[in-house]
């Protein structure tokens, strides 16, 4: 699980960097027509474009790492889906607040909380889809199990002596 966690963290870092650059790029180009890869208020704070870019890349990459590495929680066999989803959601939501304020993705706490609520709703929908998927799989298992029983494969051995 440790190796898988590291692999996911590395992949998550790349995804985090790409998404962290892409989202401000889309927003700023739609809003003002200019192209920016990070918030202008972050540059005002650091006073340097390069420092802002590096901070943005590093922090958004780390956020991606934690999000992706956190998916190993779903591999904890003794954890129900609700617990794994809940803990993963909590990590993502709890981390978003300081990161978004640090990188100036949001300017106020209210904005941040709105995004948190959206994240939670998205997470609930994902959990619901996963739950329905597994439930359908288990229904198939029961059908196969009942069919095997009807066909007389159960509970007797195939090499039956009458």
């Amino acid at each position: 699980m440790g190796k898988k966690c590291l692999r996911l963290a590395a992949a998550g870092f790349l995804i985090g960097v790409v998404m962290g650059l892409l989202i401000p790029f889309i927003i700023t180009s739609l809003e003002s027509g200019s192209i920016r890869f990070f918030s202008s208020s972050l540059q005002e704070k650091t006073g340097s474009m390069l420092a802002s870019l590096l901070i943005h890349i590093l922090v958004s990459g780390l956020y991606g790492s934690v999000c992706m590495a956190g998916t190993v929680l779903y591999d904890v066999e003794s954890w129900p889906l609700a617990l794994a989803s809940g803990v993963h959601c909590l990590i993502i939501v709890a981390l978003f607040e300081p990161i978004s304020l640090c990188l100036r993705w949001t300017s106020t706490l209210a904005e941040c909380l709105i995004i948190n609520v959206i994240q939670i709703v998205c997470y609930f929908v994902i959990w619901l889809i996963l739950w329905a998927y597994y439930r359908a799989q288990v229904r198939t298992l029961n059908e196969l199990n009942e069919a095997a029983f009807r066909d007389g494969q159960k509970p007797e051995e195939t090499h039956q002596i009458e």
Partner: protein, 152 residues
């Protein structure tokens, strides 16, 4: 003991071996032969009971095999036994039968599973014949399905 004739009759219409015990009636001697033949068709596990006595248990009677620490417990419908073998080796030995891995710690005999249930919290619960239940990892669902479909 009365006279016993053992012979092989080729039959091209069959795709399996069919052993028929014929006689005037199903007496004690016939029952003994049936039991002997039955034991030849069954895989058995060498296990220990709680007092350390050696026993053999037909694989078909095993409900669940679980490991906790270094203790491997073989559960039948009647009692628990213990074995000095790794779960992985036992899994290899039983893979031709209806056993499937349901978590890192357990093997279950699918013929002893009454039904599967996906609980509200998202746990795959297995209700076992003769009472009792256990849980399975969600990752094992494809393996269980393949086994039930007879593809494994």
């Amino acid at each position: 003991m009365s006279k016993i004739i053992i012979r092989f009759e080729p039959d091209a219409s069959l795709d399996h071996l069919e052993v028929v015990v014929r006689g005037p009636q199903r007496d004690e001697q016939a029952e003994q032969w049936l039991e002997r033949l039955k034991s030849l068709t069954q895989s058995t596990l060498t296990v220990y009971d709680q007092y350390g006595n050696l026993n053999t248990v037909p694989a078909s009677e095993v409900v669940l095999v679980s490991v906790e620490g270094k203790t491997l417990t073989v559960r039948t419908q009647h009692q628990d036994y213990y074995a000095k073998i790794s779960l992985q080796r036992l899994e290899q030995a039983l893979e031709e039968h209806s056993f499937v891995r349901i978590s890192r710690y357990e093997l279950v005999n699918l013929k002893m599973v009454q039904r599967f249930e996906f609980t509200g919290s998202g746990t795959l619960k297995l209700e076992l014949r003769g009472g009792g239940s256990t849980w399975a990892s969600r990752r094992c669902i494809p393996a269980i399905r393949r086994k039930l479909e007879g593809r494994d």
